[in-house]
């Protein structure tokens, strides 16, 4: 069996996803980073963006993460985010509507949030 790492994806008010994975790709402020089992201890600041988790049973979990941190130590990876949603939970139509509305109102942060959601859905 391939080596695996334990992932905890937690939002401020709930635990979003946890399980075993073989690879986690996330976007930090200095660029995309991929973490595989045995990576050296790491603590980074996440950008808003989709996070891709390759689970050990071959599936893929994509989540939209709005700011937060990634920390890895002892083969345990934690993704902390104020807001985090699994791509399955995202309502595409609603996100699209929010995206259009944010664009017309020139609300940069709302536009970014909606954009992250849409990208997470596209990546699944």
């Amino acid at each position: 069996m391939a080596a695996e790492l334990h992932v905890e994806l937690v939002a401020a008010d709930r635990s979003v996803w946890s399980g075993e994975a073989t690879l986690v790709v996330a976007r930090t402020t200095s660029g995309d980073i991929g973490v595989m089992p045995g990576h050296q201890p790491l603590l980074g600041v996440l950008e808003s963006g989709p996070v891709t988790i390759r689970t050990s049973d071959g599936g893929t979990v994509v989540a939209a993460v709005h700011g937060g941190f990634i920390s890895f130590a002892d083969n345990k990876l934690s993704l902390l985010a104020e807001i985090a949603e699994l791509s399955d939970e995202i309502d595409v139509q609603r996100a699209e509507r929010a995206f259009e509305r944010a664009k017309s109102e020139a609300d940069a942060s709302a536009e970014r949030r909606a954009d992250v959601r849409l990208r997470a859905v596209a990546a699944r």
Binding site: P41, F69, A73
Partner: protein, 305 residues
């Protein structure tokens, strides 16, 4: 029905109606406590992970940050007081306000100027009534606080800490809230939130003799700390808001339970009094009848002779 009896009957009816209301409020509060407790539990993983991360930065680097550096002389302090929007919770709000007053007095005795920040309509009303200054106030979410509310509260406070004292900023931040110990016990506590002592945080989280690995910081320890500390403060405030909400519901439940019990006692006493009044009425009627027949038979006995 006699006048006395009617008065008792009317009072019993009104107390019964009150009892029904307090009973309903008790049950609503009981279900809300459970919900609030669940929310506290749901926010715990985030708080633990965040504490771990702060500890990691604290032990892994010698970075200095405005939120962790102790000013040489602290002259201004902020006190954040968490109360509830609604009353009917026994001594819940007055205990929290009393704790805040004591803390303020203590800080002022130490020669510090105190800015008060208040969450909850009850605390705001208390300060407004006494015409005391509130630096900033928030209301409307104390029953079910969301993370966004904690963010809204934390923002101005962090800003005040980062501002120079001479320009109206503060040197330290204290928080007063009601800790949810158990369903029966909630205590108003105060604590210093900022400046944060990384050693204390480390002690809290590494009680299990855990040795933290040497982390690789991405992009740098300073940047990570910069992003991490405000989140840590927010999460602490969020936790305090949730505990305060849970405590409020527990206090409401208890207050309403004793109100229901009192109403029950009152109904018992009143029905005894009503029974006595009814009995007295009957006794009086009987003696009137007996007296009447005696008088009648006396009268007829006289006419026979």
């Amino acid at each position: 029905m006699g006048a006395q009896l009617r008065v008792y009957k009317r009072r019993i009816k009104s107390v019964t109606a009150t009892k029904k209301i307090t009973k309903a409020m008790e049950m609503i509060a009981a279900s809300r406590v459970v919900k609030a407790q669940r929310k506290v539990a749901a926010s715990t993983p985030y708080a633990t992970e965040l504490t771990r991360a702060v500890t990691a930065v604290g032990t892994g680097s010698n970075t200095k940050h405005p939120l962790t550096t102790e000013p040489e002389t602290s002259t201004r302090a902020a006190v954040l007081l968490l109360t509830s929007d609604r009353g009917l919770a026994g001594a819940f709000n007055s205990n929290a306000i009393k704790a805040a007053e004591q803390l303020t007095a203590r800080l002022e005795a130490a020669g510090k100027e105190v800015d008060v920040y208040v969450v909850g309509r009850r605390g705001v009303a208390h300060y407004n009534f006494r015409e005391r200054k509130i630096a900033k106030q928030w209301t409307g979410f104390t029953d079910q606080p969301e993370y966004a509310d904690a963010k809204a509260v934390a923002g101005p406070l962090i800003e005040a800490i980062e501002t120079e004292t001479a320009e109206g900023g503060v040197d330290e931040l204290h928080i007063v809230y009601t800790e949810f110990v158990s369903m029966m016990t909630q205590t108003a506590v105060d604590g210093r939130l900022l400046p944060l002592s990384l050693e204390e945080v480390a002690e809290e989280s590494t009680a299990k003799d855990e040795i933290l690995p040497l982390f690789d910081f991405e992009p740098s320890a300073e940047d990570v700390l910069d992003a991490l500390l405000p989140r840590y403060v927010e999460s602490r405030i969020y936790n305090a808001l949730l505990q305060s909400a849970a405590s409020k519901h527990a206090a409401t439940r208890r207050a309403m339970k004793s109100a229901t019990d009192n109403a029950g006692d009152l109904i018992n006493n009143l029905s005894r009094l009503a029974n006595a009044a009814r009995q007295a009425e009957i006794t009086q009627e009987i003696s009137e009848i007996v007296g009447g027949t005696a008088a009648l038979s006396d009268a007829t006995a006289g006419s026979d002779k």
